[in-house]
């Protein structure tokens, strides 16, 4: 049985897809419609992501991977073929999440016990960060997860042993983070040798450049950046480390 609300939802969805494929729609209209369709189906991504909750990977990163799948599904779905969007989107989202797990393989072989611990530690970290409104300390995480502080430290260490995928480029319908927060020139306002800094940062992919700018020029913490970008704080840390390494390479070249 379809409830009246879900029926209304399906109508709204069908209407949105129709407008998306209307040849007379402007690029700006399409972009708004695409946003709305993505937003509308984010609960589906979270629902699928939850199935992967106990695999020792931060939930934010799983949801981020699934969201990329959702964006692709919205872009590729052809309503004229008669299938429901959800049945088209689920395999695409699941595929994107599976690829995420395949691509972020452990660079070191990590024992199962350590992976399970990491899951508990990540959950404690995320819960505390939310409750406290700041990054928790190692002792706080250890107490919450009921593990030894050394286990928390090992878990942080292990996070750095993972291969790090670059962030997916911002979907075309997404306003770049830098534009939402203020443009690069304004951010580099007080920086000595602004042109050189700008040229240097240009070697980084867009989202990495945004993360570097937010951390070092806007003074946001890693946790705050993680929240903005929608990935885990550890992922932000790994990306910063890798970006700085690359920039040092450029500078010494």
């Amino acid at each position: 049985m379809t409830s009246p609300t879900s029926q209304a939802r399906q109508l709204a969805e069908a209407d949105l897809f129709e407008r998306l494929h209307n040849p007379e729609a402007t690029e700006a209209e399409r972009s708004l419609i695409r946003d709305e369709l993505v937003e509308m189906h984010l609960p589906l991504v979270r629902h699928i992501a939850r199935r992967y909750a106990d695999r020792g990977e931060p939930m934010d990163d799983v949801v981020q991977a699934g969201s990329v799948g959702l964006i692709h599904a919205v872009d590729r779905f052809d309503p004229s073929k008669g299938a429901a969007f959800t049945s088209y989107a689920v395999p695409t989202i699941t595929g994107a999440i599976r690829r995420h797990f395949r691509d972020t393989t452990w660079a070191l072989k990590v024992p199962r016990r350590a992976q399970e611990l990491r899951g508990r530690i990540d959950q404690a970290h995320d819960a505390l960060a939310q409750e406290l409104g700041r990054s928790p300390t190692v002792a706080e995480i250890a107490e919450r997860a009921q593990v030894d502080p050394q286990d928390v430290l090992d878990s942080l260490e292990m996070s750095h042993a993972r291969s790090t995928k670059p962030l997916e480029p911002a979907a075309q319908d997404e306003t770049p983070l830098a534009e939402r927060i203020g443009d690069l020139d304004a951010q580099l306002g007080n920086v000595e040798d602004r042109e050189a800094t700008r040229a240097l940062l240009a070697v980084l992919p867009e989202r990495e450049r945004e993360i570097v700018t937010l951390r070092f020029f806007d003074g946001l913490s890693q946790s705050q950046i993680a929240e903005h970008v929608g990935v885990s704080q550890m992922h932000v840390s790994r990306l910063l480390q890798r970006s700085l390494q690359r920039l040092r390479g450029e500078l010494s070249a």
């Binding site: 970290h125 300390t137 190692v138 002792a139 430290l153 942080l156 070092f216 040092r248």
Partner: protein, 133 residues
């Protein structure tokens, strides 16, 4: 002659050939010491990045076959890093502006000096004020 870096007798020392391939070791040791100051996870990750920047600066100016020596300690809720490396420079070189911006965004009270042919850098990271004692 090896400069005697500051720090209490409880300080942890790490020494390695001045090669960027060894930075990961210094990074991990520093992160472990930083937890003793009860820093937040964000700050421990910042310590790692700052160790990278500081050792990269020393390595860039190291004399051939030099070793980087790091002394790492905590004083209450403050993490200290003191790092040195032999150099042929006759004065403490100016850090590259971008690296300096990064380092100053991460840590405080950065000192650079040249002592008896050793380039020495010291900095601290104090615990986030919003963490209750």
């Amino acid at each position: 002659m090896r400069v005697v870096l500051p720090g209490p007798s409880t300080a942890i020392e790490v020494a390695f050939p001045a090669d960027t391939a060894n930075m990961a070791i210094a990074r991990s040791v520093a992160a472990a010491v930083a937890t003793r100051a009860d820093l937040t996870v964000d700050q421990i990750e910042d310590v790692r990045l700052a160790i990278d920047e500081a050792t990269a600066y020393l390595i860039a100016h190291a004399s051939p076959d030099a070793r980087v020596l790091g002394r790492l300690w905590t004083d209450g809720h403050t993490f200290h890093a003191s790092l040195s490396c032999a150099t042929e420079s006759t004065s403490a070189p100016e850090p590259e502006p971008f690296s300096w911006t990064v380092l100053t965004a991460l840590v405080s009270d950065i000192d650079r000096e040249l002592v008896d042919g050793e380039l020495v850098m010291h900095w601290v990271l104090a615990r986030d004020h919003s963490v209750p004692a």
